[in-house]
């Protein structure tokens, strides 16, 4: 009985543990005050990706295009391979503007998801609220659109952004094939929804 009670208590504490604790990170103090996401920071570059969106059993492709047009100001467009615009958004100082969206996609719930996902993708500079470490890996906590986000760095390279709720990862932005400040492969995975976006640089 005592073993059962201890097991339940152990599971309870693990379940309630913070996201960094679950990943075996320990809190540290640091002089770093900002998180830098460098992947969409070059105003001279057109970021063009072949995109695939798997959403609720449907899959469709297109081109995902991002341009930094000023300080904290990004424009992003999704088109079909044949060039028809599906959506066209701006994110300026985390404020989301819709320039165009196909009528069939003009749904509040979808727009909220895209706003959250794309703001996390392109926001370059965020204030660190907590800092954690595990060997050479660091995890920096910050708030973005009032939601807790963790930025996971390995050898000073941003590898993953995790949006969490109650200590659990809800959405992951994963950066791969990084060359300098350019992530050639990006995945946005929703753990609580059948929704995944995959971007591969052209």
């Amino acid at each position: 009985m005592r073993i059962l009670a201890s097991s339940i208590l152990f599971i309870f504490f693990v379940a309630c543990a913070s996201f960094p604790k679950k990943q075996q990170f320990t809190q540290v103090t640091t002089s770093t005050h900002n998180i830098i996401n460098p992947y969409f920071s070059d105003t001279s570059k057109d970021y063009v990706y072949k995109a695939n969106i798997d959403a609720f059993g449907n899959s469709f492709g297109g081109l995902f295009i991002v341009k930094k047009i000023g300080e904290n100001n990004h424009r992003m467009v999704f088109t079909t391979e044949m060039g028809n615009t599906i959506f066209d958004f701006s994110i300026k100082n985390q404020e989301f503007t819709i320039h165009k969206i196909l009528k069939d996609m003009d749904r509040k719930i979808l727009l909220n998801i895209l706003q959250q996902d794309l703001t996390a993708l392109v926001t370059e500079k965020l204030e660190v609220s907590q800092h954690y470490q595990k060997g050479q890996q660091t995890l920096s906590e910050s708030q973005l659109l009032s939601k807790k986000h963790y930025f996971y760095f390995q050898q000073n390279q941003l590898k993953r952004i995790s949006r969490t709720k109650n200590g659990k990862e809800k959405v992951a932005h994963i950066f791969n094939s990084v060359e300098g400040d350019f992530a050639k492969s990006i995945q946005i995975i929703h753990n609580n929804l059948p929704l995944q976006l995959t971007f591969k640089a052209l």
Partner: protein, 185 residues
């Protein structure tokens, strides 16, 4: 362009389109978005068989094909194949007819479009402006450039924002026999 010249062009294109059973052509597509430094360029091959079988096969910088055939859209996205049955979808039917018409340039339908005619050296340019608001939500205008003999050399689809997709055709051959394999996914 004078009214006589415009009518001459119309008749020439219609007659050529009527005698065109198949088309094979290379194409280069330029996607122009105003805020980008450069247009996004892609290349591929177009295959057309009357009345309305069309295959767009992109080979660079990505591998992607889309076939419009028998009220079905067949997509092959880098090996991932997908079919969409669009039978009975009026908008799709119109879109497919429009694509098939624009490849041959035969869009001189006054019920559907307002038209403006221009001369550009040896080439002739027609602006087709959709009258239907359902269509003009996507495309503000089609600009089609014709060669001296009435072949389509370029199609430009302009979106309401002013951004456009320009398709330039090259190595065009017509009325060569095509098999089912030419429209395979």
């Amino acid at each position: 362009m004078s009214v006589t010249e415009a009518n001459y062009l119309k008749n020439k294109v219609k007659s050529l389109a009527g005698n065109t059973q198949t088309i094979k052509s290379d194409f280069t597509q330029y996607k122009h978005i105003d805020f980008l430094s450069n247009d996004i360029e892609s290349k591929g091959k177009l295959t057309f068989k009357e009345p309305d079988q069309v295959k767009w096969e992109y080979t660079q910088p990505y591998t992607y094909s889309i076939i419009f055939k028998d009220q079905t859209v067949y997509i092959n996205d880098d090996g991932n194949k997908k079919n969409l049955d669009v039978g009975g979808n009026k908008l799709f039917e119109r879109l497919n007819n429009l694509i098939a018409s624009s490849i041959r340039g035969d869009m001189f339908n006054t019920n559907e479009f307002d038209m403006e005619f221009f001369k550009d050296g040896d080439e002739q340019l027609v602006h087709f402006l959709p009258k239907d608001p359902q269509l003009s939500e996507f495309i503000n205008a089609f600009h089609i450039k014709f060669s001296k003999i009435g072949d389509v050399v370029e199609v430009k689809m302009i979106e309401p924002s002013g951004d456009y997709t320009q398709i330039v055709f090259s190595n065009r051959t017509t009325n060569q026999p095509l098999s089912d394999a030419d429209f395979s996914q």
